[in-house]
């Protein structure tokens, strides 16, 4: 697995704190850039008033810092383009529908 794929795979292990879906399938991750041991993550939230924002950022930092060759994680919150349900992956759509959320 190339290093970028490994970061995406690690992010896909993080569950949203409120719903049974991971951050990648929910479409929150806008981009990942890597420079040596440093990773920059651009992400968004489903709403500006997301009550779990703090937890999501904390989880991203903790999970990526657990990778052996990553020693710095910078998270940038992005609002443009705004998140919509169109950003859900097919697996994400299935997960939310099986939980009873119409998407």
């Amino acid at each position: 697995m190339n290093p970028d794929d490994r970061i995406w795979a690690a992010l896909a292990e993080i569950q949203d704190p409120e719903m049974p879906i991971n951050l990648v399938d929910l479409g929150l991750i806008y981009g990942v850039r890597r420079d040596g041991g440093r990773v920059d993550v651009d992400l968004t939230f489903t709403a500006m008033g997301c009550p779990a924002a703090d937890f999501v950022i904390e989880d991203v930092r903790e999970r990526l810092l657990a990778e052996p060759d990553i020693d710095e994680v910078r998270v940038r919150v992005v609002w443009d383009p705004p998140w919509t349900a169109a950003r859900l992956t097919e697996a994400g759509r299935d997960a939310l529908e099986s939980w009873g959320l119409a998407v």
Binding site: P17, G49, C50, P51, A52, A53, D54, F55, E58, G100
Partner: protein
């Protein structure tokens, strides 16, 4: 002689089938179901004003939003219980806005004021864990279909409340110094209060209609053990002391249960054991915030109703 309805009801219950409407119930089942729903609705409802007082002391904008979101969830959970009660013939408005404060049926713990962010964190970790055990058991076992289905999302949302409580307890404990001391002082009064949450011990409660009707599956002591098995190891893992330990499969309290509690001082006297009759008297009298919390949300309703009648 058993009526046809009674026979059909007994068969449904025996087979483990779900009961879906009042036409399938006996009057005794309906009464017990309503009682269980009122306790659930009242508990969720009253947690809103109880949590709000502490949420106002949130240490960051995001923490404040989290606290408000939890309150919003609790109100929605209350609405689920009251809405089912409406379908069973009660009136949600009357239940919430026209009952006497003392007739609300929620755990005594909510009557003791939560006045700081650390107290809210502990409440989310302890009280919501108690709610999680009680509702999780009902979700798994409940013989009344509409309630069982209504609890799927409630359980997922309670997880978020636990996350908030545990995360903040861990952060405050890690900060050390006076912050950790304050956390410990609050755990000292809130832990025994949540142990009480599950009610009389099994040897004092010989018969449970709720168990018989499969409105719940676990006894009071089994639920209390479940709660202890999650809370005690977590507290120990973050360096917070709690007066309980494990012996074999069981969790054992390191203080006399029950014992006396001074609500104004938020202090237990482990040297002063009391009887369950004493505890029942304290519960029935309710605690310091009962009247005010109920008055707060009934006041505007009454004003609006009076204005409409003029």
């Amino acid at each position: 002689m058993a009526t046809a309805n009674q026979v059909r009801f007994d068969n449904l219950l025996k087979k483990g089938d779900l009961i879906e409407s009042t036409s399938e119930m006996t009057p005794e089942y309906l009464k017990e179901l309503k009682h269980t729903l009122i306790v659930s609705g009242d508990t969720e409802l009253i947690s809103a004003p109880a949590y709000y007082m502490a949420t106002k002391r949130a240490p960051s904008v995001n923490a404040f939003m989290t606290g408000i979101a939890i309150i919003q969830d609790e109100l929605a959970h209350a609405h689920i219980a009251y809405h089912i009660l409406e379908e069973l013939g009660d009136d949600e408005e009357t239940l919430i806005f026209e009952r006497d404060p003392k007739s609300f049926r929620y755990p005594y713990a909510f009557d003791v004021p939560l006045e700081s962010w650390p107290e809210l964190a502990i409440a989310n970790a302890f009280y919501d864990q108690a709610g999680f055990c009680l509702l999780g058991d009902i979700h798994e076992q409940c013989s009344y279909g509409p309630w069982k289905r209504g609890l799927v999302k409630v359980m997922a949302e309670e997880n978020f409340h636990l996350r908030n409580g545990r995360t903040w307890m861990k952060r405050i404990a890690a900060a050390g110094g006076e912050a950790k001391d304050e956390l410990q002082r609050n755990v000292d009064w809130m832990f025994p209060l949540t142990v009480e949450w599950f009610g009389l011990p099994d040897d004092r409660k010989m018969h449970s209609t709720q168990l018989e009707y499969r409105l719940k599956g676990k006894t009071n002591d089994q639920l209390r053990q479940w709660w202890l098995s999650t809370v005690v190891p977590y507290c120990e893992s973050i360096g917070v002391k709690v007066p309980a330990h494990q012996e074999g499969e069981n969790w054992v309290l390191d203080y006399p249960f029950p014992c006396t509690f001074d609500a104004a001082e938020k202090r237990w006297d482990f040297k002063d054991p009391c009887s369950w009759d004493d505890v029942l008297v304290r519960w029935r009298e309710r605690g310091p915030r009962n009247v005010q919390m109920v008055a707060d949300f009934q006041e505007s309703y009454r004003k609006l109703r009076a204005a409409r009648q003029q």
